[in-house]
């Protein structure tokens, strides 16, 4: 079972039935894995903030959901996360690549690396960085906890966790 199989299994355990996604190199494997599961409604979107609103809508339909996007996309979503999710206390569970980290040397990713987490802190969006395989099993707890927090929650996946080669 590779890391994407493990994350998918824990999302299933958390009761996730819908995934709204936009590709990023680091999370493409997870997006493909989720898309293979016919029990999860997969909604590819045209821009990342759509994932936030789709998951918010699914919440009111009683369906547990996840947004799977890249870190660059997360930066573009923070306004919608605030004016929709904070405004109305709607939980949205986001899985995001930890792009721009010290082991990510792709030039496009440099800006967000040191800035995303301070931005999340400013908005008071809880987050967690998962770096080791044995932390994946905390996903169902994190899912339940984010519902209790009633706001967006970001689970970052590191390059080391995803087993990616150096760029």
């Amino acid at each position: 079972m590779d890391v994407n199989d493990q994350i998918h299994a824990q999302l299933v355990k958390a009761g996730v039935g819908l995934a709204a996604t936009l590709p990023d190199d680091w999370v493409n494997g997870l997006i493909r894995r989720v898309a293979q599961d016919n029990a999860i409604r997969h909604i590819p979107v045209s821009r990342e903030a759509e994932t936030i609103a789709i998951c918010a809508g699914a919440f009111f339909g009683g369906v547990r959901s996840v947004a799977i996007i890249g870190n660059t996309g997360l930066l573009t979503c923070t306004g919608e996360m605030a004016t929709l999710c904070l405004r109305h206390a709607i939980p949205v569970f986001c899985i995001v690549s930890n792009r721009g980290s010290i082991d990510d040397h792709m030039i496009y990713q440099e800006v967000q690396g040191r800035r995303t987490i301070p931005l999340l802190q400013a908005y008071d969006y809880p987050y967690r960085v998962i770096d080791k395989p044995d932390e994946i099993e905390t996903i169902p707890d994190a899912y339940e906890w984010h519902r209790l927090q009633k706001r967006p929650f970001v689970l970052f996946l590191t390059k080391k966790l995803l087993g990616l080669k150096k760029s």
């Binding site: 909604i43 306004g79 004016t83």
Partner: protein
């Protein structure tokens, strides 16, 4: 036609539809006419009522879902049409209230005012069923067919711009209260569970 007149016609044909309103004129008009608490009124996230309605529609595929979008909101996220077309939600009707201006901010003109064909844009994105309606009689006449047809269906409603009309949000509740009123209404109406056993 005027926005509230169009809203009254829509309300008379609503049936069991869940309604999601883009912020501004669409939300304010629907509230003014219906005082409906089993509707969701966006207070922000301009452009993303369409995505919210899509998430709701696929989550409750047996329930009709109406999106009351606006021209300003649609133009802020035209990509929503591609996402909607990609899913082909058979229970979603996408109305766009087009007054050719940003009415709740002093009627400032829309980008490319009067120069865009929104129904053509929707068709180009992959939504096969589209319609443009410019008067109340046609709206009233078309609604039974719109309700009976499968979605996604994009209905462009051309309305008049009105001066100093419903600028402030008129709702008597907001924020988390809107979440709970809307969620509890859907639980009661459709027998679904939005909230857990201890309320969150």
């Amino acid at each position: 036609m005027k926005t509230n007149e169009a809203m009254k016609v829509l309300a008379s044909h609503r049936g069991e539809a869940i309604v999601v309103c883009a912020l501004g004129t669409a939300a304010n008009g629907w509230w003014a006419v219906t005082r409906s608490e089993d509707s969701f009124y966006m207070h922000g996230a301009m452009g993303f009522a369409a995505s919210f309605a899509l998430g709701l529609a696929v989550a409750i595929p047996t329930a009709p879902v109406w999106l009351l979008n606006s021209d300003g909101s649609l133009c802020m996220n035209l990509g929503c049409l591609l996402t909607e077309a990609g899913q082909q939600p058979s229970n979603l009707k996408h109305f766009v209230v087009d007054n050719q201006c940003y009415q709740t901010v002093s009627n400032m003109p829309m980008v490319n005012q009067n120069g865009a064909d929104y129904a053509a844009i929707a068709r180009g994105a992959g939504i096969a069923r589209t319609l443009t309606i410019e008067d109340l009689a046609a709206l009233d006449r078309q609604m039974p067919d719109i309700n009976a047809a499968p979605g996604p269906y994009f209905i462009h409603l051309r309305v008049e711009a009105e001066q100093n009309y419903q600028r402030p949000p008129p709702f008597s509740y907001e924020g988390a209260e809107m979440k709970y009123r809307f969620g509890r209404a859907l639980e009661g109406k459709f027998g679904i569970k939005v909230f857990g056993p201890t309320g969150f």
